[in-house]
Symmetry: C2
Subunit: 493 residues, 2 copies
């Protein structure tokens, strides 16, 4: 099968006009119920055909006894029936000319030798019939751009530029939930299940071709063909960054991964070497996977590894400088021009180094000016701002504390106006981060004073990203700079 054929079928899977759910049910808790309600709740805009021989309607929609009875061409069938009936269902799909299937059903290779035989038969039928299927034993797929949520958990991310490929359904769902929590969009999600026919690398190649996708995030337990995976990855990373979380670092983890997805886990070091050669950004934790994915889909990539830091107080700057050095980032010595400029604006005992410590000076104009100085300083490729964002919580606490003692200190009007001012100051700063980021092409990361500050803030000038700790900001820049170094190595003779 050529790539064009595969991509055509994957287009049918991720952008279907008509979907059949084989095993659709009205019994809450059943997969056939969860899938059809998810598709309906997810705002699917095409035709939906429940297939269930025992029912006239499912969830108020006319049901069909078989796919053959459906009056229209069907692009995608989602199958939730017991494993033993899957071969026949696939035959029916092929007879109907359905090009793509999401095979939710479990009871295949993951259950032992008998299941493995059944799985091989299913794959043989699909391949012979020119049908592409994902699974079995998958929680499903999401395509926000195709308005399709064919997944066993009711989870509805907003559209976005990230494609996620996961070899673990529960981890994949977790990642999407976290993304929603952070205000981060997801373009596509594919839980690959047992990967009997369609492999993670096929999806990686496909998402590499989709214009909606700016970056791909992978959760990998193992791949069956390292060389093929690497060739695909190497091609994709030339134009789109790919971030991977690979498990099986430890002997135990590796054993657990094997037992979970049945894949050959291989040596972790081998994978790391492969990722490096293919330009894949390898992260170590789910949080890093999300942070880096968010940055890659919203921020410019730094040209190199030099960082400028501004901080409202000393301690944070120190911690951030430490993290930079640990992660291979450079903090250039502050230029005489910047020192001279700031000498005119802040108390004479300021530190005159990078990180710049604004020694608690609270003037919004000074914050904006320092941001501007750092962003336009041609010796840095990225900027970290510590503690300017997130002051609102402190202002509110301050006012509340005043109210406890003497109502007269702040009138309700004054209080509202103080809070409004603070919101305006903060919004202006965030907007300015986005503007400077766009103007200079350098990523500018803010670390918020308030926890849970990990957000993506849309402004007129693009997105400003806030993290909840300095180490997260540093890690993101380090990974992005590493990817850029890889891209540079491709063009340098």
């Amino acid at each position: 099968m050529g790539d064009a054929d595969l991509y055509r079928r994957l287009d049918a899977m991720f952008f279907p006009r008509a979907v059949a759910v084989i095993g659709a049910s009205e019994i809450p808790g059943k997969w056939g119920f969860m899938i059809i309600t998810a598709i309906m709740s997810g705002g699917f805009q095409g035709s939906l055909y429940p297939v269930n021989p025992k029912k006239e309607t499912i969830m108020g929609i006319k049901a069909y006894p078989t796919v053959a009875a459906i009056p229209e061409t069907v692009d995608l069938a989602v199958i939730t029936i017991p494993a033993a009936h899957v071969p026949q269902a696939l035959q029916d799909c092929i007879a109907k000319g359905i090009p793509s299937v999401v095979l939710i059903s479990s009871g295949f290779r993951e259950t032992g030798a008998e299941g493995a035989v059944l799985e091989a038969e299913v794959t043989r039928i699909a391949t012979a019939g020119g049908l592409t299927y994902i699974g079995p034993n998958t929680m499903g797929i999401i395509s926000t751009h195709g308005h399709l949520t064919a997944i066993g958990v009711p989870i509805f991310p907003n559209p976005g530029a990230l494609a996620i490929i996961s070899q673990s359904g529960n981890l994949g769902m977790q990642i999407i939930q976290w993304a929603i929590h952070r205000g981060m969009g997801v373009g596509f999600y594919a839980g690959t299940g047992n990967e009997a026919q369609l492999k993670a690398r096929d999806l990686l190649a496909y998402f590499g071709t989709r214009p909606e996708v700016k970056a791909v995030a992978l959760y990998l337990e193992g791949v069956d063909n390292g060389r093929a995976f690497m060739e695909t990855a190497r091609a994709v990373t030339r134009t789109k960054p790919v971030v991977a979380l690979k498990t099986g670092r430890s002997a135990t983890g590796s054993k657990a991964a094997q037992s979970h997805s049945g894949s050959m886990a291989g040596s972790y070091a081998t994978y790391s070497a492969m990722f490096k050669q293919a330009g894949i950004i390898q992260v170590s934790t789910p949080s890093e996977l999300l942070n880096v994915s968010a940055a890659l889909t919203h921020l410019p990539i730094p040209r190199s590894n030099r960082v400028g830091i501004m901080s409202l107080g000393g301690g944070w700057g120190v911690i951030t400088a430490d993290e930079c050095e640990t992660r291979g980032l450079k903090l250039p010595t502050l230029s005489p021009a910047i020192i001279e400029d700031l000498n005119r604006r802040i108390p004479p005992y300021w530190n005159r180094t990078n990180p710049i410590d604004l020694v608690g000076e609270a003037s919004p104009e000074l914050h904006l000016h320092t941001l501007d100085l750092l962003a336009h300083w041609d010796e840095v490729d990225a900027v970290i701002v510590l503690g300017v964002v997130g002051r609102l919580a402190i202002t509110e606490a301050f006012i509340t504390s005043q109210e406890k003692i003497l109502g007269r200190v702040f009138s309700r009007e004054l209080k509202l106006s103080v809070i409004k001012d603070q919101i305006q100051v903060e919004n202006r700063f965030i907007s300015e981060i986005a503007r400077q980021q766009r103007e200079t092409g350098k990523p500018i990361l803010a670390v918020s004073l308030s926890e849970g500050g990990q957000t993506l803030n849309d402004t007129d000038y693009g997105t400003a990203m806030c993290l909840s700790s300095p180490e997260e900001a540093v890690t993101i820049i380090a990974y992005m700079a590493g990817y850029q170094a890889y891209l540079n190595s491709l063009i340098t003779p």
Copy 2:
């Protein structure tokens, strides 16, 4: 000065009956305003005496022109006036017999040579007059057990068993804010400022003697007398765990720290060696500092480094196993008794290894039973539960998604009863974690499905801690096990 004298003065500082604020003001934004309103809002229960020669009253309280005019014995003076007037103010305090001072004022050593001379004079006056002072250039102190919030930021943690000593005011405030966000109590906070007289080690020794304190968290940039610090720390860690975040790992960070607090940063490796020898738990990030502090004040310490893991799905178990191995924790092979027991309860293709993968089985009874099996398994010292807690968010999303399509699927009553059930199931599980934890003396950490799940949950049986990622749970256990190993090394010949 003997330790007994010092501790008596520190008792006066952290448990004062009468407090004078020298420089008290009604002008919002001034330190003298912020301090007095913080003390008032913080619910101080003793006598409060604003000292300001130009005012009859401050914030509705009678003001005094000098401390000499105060009609009562004063235990603590908080000083916010300009540096140049501090020597006279200290003389006044000594004349009045005030044993302790929080010296907020800045403009000393951190501003240069002239400030350093002034600081030395202030210290000479204090020491000669038998007065103990913290600072200068500190944001202040908090003593929830003494009902005192003498700090420049309106931040009011609940009482707790943690004492925090910070060489950075802004980082200290940040740590307390995070603690509040997580529902974590703070017993004492001391921002040490320039440490002209009172050193971090003095406070460490003092908090070591306080019965309210179960653990001490340190943010250190550097200490001036490594030997003295280590002797103190070694004595304290015999009975109370001490966690430290030391900056200056990198050359840049070290330089920044030096410029910030003026202390000799020393080599990071030297500090690490010193911490190890003194039994101090050294963490690398502010988040770790908080997580480990929360665990040390609420959970039992594991006897050794063997961990049992249960998970609702494979992926998370794999990631957690990896992290355990990376951090030196052991995952014992599942015992035949546990395997046999679970064989009777879950589908035959379950993995039969540690981490136990419950392959998506949703029965609350099975979750409770597996928790019980792991907690009572004598080959493990700690338990991690992945994904049972935090399902409520998913249940709610599920119901919401149903409502979008067909109102009739769930009536309002049914919906409320489903959510109520889920809350009950979850509360029962959390309560059971706390019960098993108390019964077995093993820490049991839950990793929640929903982000922001980092909480301390009070139950009838004690506190159950939920983290928002597997790596956090693993890191906490690894640090605690390391401390226990240190304690064991003291008694093993």
